[in-house]
């Protein structure tokens, strides 16, 4: 071919987000209608509505997007996903933004910085036991990040214990070594931290 070739351009932020979302996210299709922002149960408390985030992504404003509390306020209710007239996998995109915010460290600047800590605490328990452990999770997380809240949560924790709805010790699966090996391999493959 004789036409002059232009050097391959770097992917836009939008393309990066799309590439990191499993399956066909269709994020490029967004028509900014706001159905997602109107449907979101926690939308009123988000710094940016999902639609707003997508506009920022399209504009390439990386920091603003990855510092936003919006992805962390996503409750995975999938209302936006089923209502989106462009069938964009919005909830999946929110998960992608969370992972990118962690990878790039921006989440620490978010007003929702506790959320990833909660997720991490949760995962720590799962990775060491194979099951989640509510008492340990609540205590560890609240003592570490919300000492004041921890006090407030005491009556509920006591209530849970009294009703036999909470364990004092975690359950551990038999195949924990197997699970850990799987997760270790997955992390290597995913190239994640």
């Amino acid at each position: 071919m004789t036409a002059t070739a232009i050097a391959a351009r770097a992917p836009t932020f939008l393309e990066e987000v799309i590439a990191r979302t499993p399956g066909e996210s269709h994020l490029e299709r967004c028509i900014q209608c706001g159905t997602c922002g109107g449907s979101c149960p926690s939308g009123a408390d988000m710094e940016h509505t999902p639609r707003g985030l997508f506009a920022l992504i399209n504009a390439g404003l990386r920091e603003l997007v990855l510092r936003s509390n919006a992805p962390w306020y996503c409750v995975s209710c999938y209302y936006c996903t089923v209502r989106c007239p462009q069938q964009i996998h919005i909830t999946d995109v929110m998960y992608t933004l969370k992972r990118m915010a962690i990878d790039e460290g921006y989440y620490t600047e978010s007003t929702a910085r506790d959320a990833p800590e909660f997720s991490k605490t949760f995962i720590d328990f799962v990775e060491s036991n194979g099951r989640s452990f509510e008492l340990g999770l609540a205590t560890a997380y609240h003592l570490r990040h919300r000492p004041l809240n921890a006090v407030g949560m005491v009556p509920m924790a006591v209530g849970m214990l009294r009703r036999g709805r909470m364990d004092l010790v975690p359950t551990r699966i038999k195949g924990i070594k197997q699970l850990q090996a799987i997760l270790k391999r997955a992390k290597e493959l995913g190239g994640a931290k």
């Binding site: 306020y73 995975s76 209302y79 909660f118 099951r131 699966i173 493959l189």
Partner: protein
């Protein structure tokens, strides 16, 4: 009918009553739920936020176990979040051969392999409604829940986004309404039936979570429900255990008990409250359950006010 059973972490402890009542009910209905051995946590809504491939691998280990243990090619999950994660993993592994290959490479480190599409994951409610059927349920009802006003609460993940196939309308589901009516209960209109209970927001921003819980409680109270019935341990936990906190936060005084649908099924089948785990809830269900069988006073009257003669015709909801 024999199925694999994936109870999920909640049903081990915080939602033990769900497990207990489910076991009692399926026994009556002649369903065999066999727990898969040594299953692990599905990662809830947390793992996908942190690290993608391990999150899929975590879920896929359960699918591989279910596939290898040969109990059944169908796996029943009573928890909506587990149901979502299991169906999502299976679906995306089917859609993306790259993902399937990566996940299987990870599983291989534990000597496992999962072929996408081998295990069909189903929610307990869907199994009861579709495989057992309303008629068979009706046939077991010995103590109808007459007089009990129920708000049928679906929450999100059992109807959305439908990774395991569409089982009911994602906006206006009705399967649980029908089931409750079969048990003899009176089902109230509950517009927020498929809205979110707040999920993990209770851990992240209580203001946000409590507002979401309040909306649901208010809506159930507005329609004079005696009890909210749920299909998910997370929904039950948020609406029940946090109800006192919500009241405190907003200065409200809701006392609406929140039960699992299997508990009400058990009661209608004649099981004792104790064996159904009733009594473990924060908001005492006894005053509400005392209404069962009590003929309602005149407040039952016409549900809609008399329509004036000038009134215009009202469109029907179902399409002819």
């Amino acid at each position: 009918m024999r199925y694999g059973y994936y109870p999920g972490c909640s049903l081990e402890r915080s939602a033990a009553a769900y497990h207990q009542s489910a076991m009692a009910v399926v026994q009556t209905l002649g369903i065999d739920l066999v727990e898969i051995d040594d299953w692990n946590c599905c990662g809830a809504t947390e793992y996908f936020s942190i690290n993608l491939l391990p999150a899929y691998a975590l879920v896929a280990r359960n699918l591989a176990l279910a596939q290898d243990q040969g109990i059944s090619n169908q796996l029943v999950a009573p928890c909506s979040a587990c149901f979502l994660n299991l169906t999502k993993t299976d679906r995306y592994m089917m859609e993306s051969s790259k993902l399937a290959a990566d996940v299987n490479e990870a599983l291989a480190a534990g000597g496992l392999h999962y072929t996408p599409g081998t295990v069909r994951v189903r929610h307990l409610l869907e199994v009861i409604v579709n495989d057992v059927g309303y008629d068979a349920v009706a046939a077991r009802v010995s103590k109808p829940l007459t007089g009990l006003r129920v708000a049928a609460y679906y929450g999100c993940l059992i109807v959305r986004p439908g990774y395991g196939g569409i089982f009911d309308d994602p906006e206006h589901p009705t399967a649980l309404d029908k089931l409750m009516r079969v048990l003899g209960a009176e089902v109230v209109d509950f517009p927020l039936r498929a809205q979110c209970c707040g999920g993990h927001m209770t851990q992240i921003s209580q203001e946000v979570a409590f507002e979401m819980i309040r909306r649901l409680l208010k809506n159930a109270a507005d329609y004079e429900a005696d009890v909210i019935v749920t299909v998910c341990p997370m929904c039950q936990l948020n609406l029940d255990a946090y109800q006192p906190n919500v009241n405190q936060f907003f200065g409200t005084d809701y006392t609406i008990p929140v039960l699992y649908f299997t508990q009400l099924m058990g009661l209608a089948f004649g099981a004792s409250p104790i064996e159904l785990g009733i009594g473990k809830e924060f908001v005492d269900a006894r005053p509400a359950l005392d209404k069962i069988g009590v003929a309602l006073p005149l407040t039952e009257a016409p549900r809609r006010p008399e329509r004036p003669k000038e009134a215009l015709p009202m469109p029907r909801m179902e399409e002819e």
